[in-house]
Amino acid sequence: MNALADFIINSLGLSGLSAELVMLLLVVAVAAAVFGIGMTISGLLTLAERRVAGRIQSRIGPNRVGPFGLLQWLVDGLKLIMKEDVVPHDADPHMFRMAPYLVVVGVFAAFASLPFGQLLIASDLNVGILYLLAITSLVTVGVLMSGWASNNKWSMIGGIRAAAQIVSYEIPTALSVASIILISGTLSMQGIINEQGGWPWQWYIFYNPFTFAVFFLYFTAALAEGNRIPFDLPEAESELVSGYNTEYSGMRFAGFFLAEFANIYLMSAIATTLFFGGWQIPGVTPEQQAGSLVLQITGMVVFMSKSAVGCFVVIWIRWTLPRLRIDQLMSLCYKYLIPLSFVCLGGNAIYLLIFPKPSSANTLVHMITTLFGGVLIVIFVTRVMYHHRISGVSLDLNFLARGEKGKYNPETQVRAYGSFRKKYEKKQGAK
């Protein structure tokens, strides 16, 4: 971005205040772009969640607004904007209003340092990955603030749960990230990706058995930081009504909601960067990619699809697993994740001592780990096929002739309401 700014300033021959103004405008423009991209991604994720949930539960999910319901999230957003923004009478109004902003800023500011492509990054910081971990701590405060300011006991419990949970799980997250930093030797997001390659055995997840374990540790901890099932205690619907966002409505609720989904994308994108080789295309070196626009776009598509898979897994887990209790949550963090990530960190350090970077033994370890991962996937697929076989037999009880995929047909409907009714009456009148 600095290069772009320099280019503009130099080519226009600006200096002093006006140069700074151009710089500022550029910053605002890039920030707006990042925010827009983040919003779109999280909006689409809300739709994806509902569609995936639908299919997992033998339903369809929203499919009416736009093709395949693709515009549903826009309509939902519109609805939420138009709703009244209720502030409870006894709430602390300023803090109540401020909290969603903190959450939204904390999550979307992190998008600034996501490497969507080799050149598609708003700002490639030296401390990229640490910045991502740090800026999301605003979310903690925002959530705590919302819980406190709502003046509702359920919200309060939710807020405190959220804060305790996020603060605790930052430790395993940071430790597992540290393992990767140890291998890559850089904190910059692009640097970490450049160290990896396009093929699976060049990814850091298959670097050695320890990184393979670290990925799962990171994933679990990140799930907990994102307040997703099985760690969604802060908004545990059946316990705390809706947790810290119980009292929120309208746009402020949408803020929390979108921030949650942006957080999912964020964690998948970080996982993609750290473990799955980011935008690297198999068989193409970064130097080759830098020269070609087509390869750039392919790289972006590769990154997006990898992180989309990550998002899918998060959603899929959310619709499968039950929720932990608060003491189990903490014991999972302090008894399992933290010690194990320490072990992995130490293991990685020892591994690096034994196998210096370019060596054939190293490649062998990569290959073996990749093979192991492949075997796991094959076992999983067999289980899926087994389940599909034993109970996937569709139930054909034709009492109702139900479930036939019908086209929209108002004439089949004898009495229909609203617009359908009007259309129907028009047809009747024409006859």
Binding site: N126, M145, V167
Partner: protein, 170 residues
């Protein structure tokens, strides 16, 4: 420009934290102050410190403070604790210190060198920590460990004491 804006936010929210009567709001307004400090560090080309400031102060200390505020019950009463004579001592004292400091800062001719370009500091920091400053670094970890154990002991011990005393009294 960025500097003045950030400085304004930092000082403004810090003074709110100092003068407000509502202790919860005090703690929350400290968030902006810490955040502003991080931005100032960033402006001073100390990117690693800025990130650490965010992680530890905002993510750690502030949350701890907020927990303490929320756990220490009757907040509304404690918040109105400005009505003491010490106010007449405190405000002038602050003023005097401020004037003193500013006069010193402005009078001393600091040996200024030319402002350098933004440089990544991480490598240098890392090398110092694992080389020149290894011993202090290790001491720091021991101190942290001691602090964690100490804090747990302080909090736990009270509970047990209280419980046992209550058992005695009943």
């Amino acid at each position: 420009m960025v500097f003045y804006f950030t400085a304004l936010i930092t000082v403004g929210t810090a003074s709110y934290a100092v003068f407000s009567k509502n202790i919860t709001r005090c703690a929350f307004s400290l968030l902006y102050s810490f955040f502003g400090m991080a931005v100032l560090y960033g402006l001073l080309s100390a990117d690693f410190v800025a990130v650490v400031q965010l992680m530890i102060y905002v993510g750690g200390i502030l949350v701890l403070l907020l927990f303490a505020v929320m756990l220490t019950g009757n907040i509304e009463l404690a918040a109105n604790s400005n009505k003491t004579a010490s106010r007449w001592l405190g405000y002038p004292l602050g003023m005097v210190i401020f004037v003193l400091l500013v006069s010193v800062f402005l009078r001393v001719p600091w040996g200024k060198s030319a402002v350098q370009a933004y440089l990544p500091t991480i490598r240098a920091i890392g090398e110092s920590f694992l080389g020149r400053l290894l011993l202090p670094f290790e001491f720091l970890s021991i101190v942290l460990l001691a602090v964690v154990i100490g804090a747990v002991v302080i909090v736990r011990n009270r509970n047990v004491c209280n419980a046992s005393e209550e058992e005695e009294s009943t």
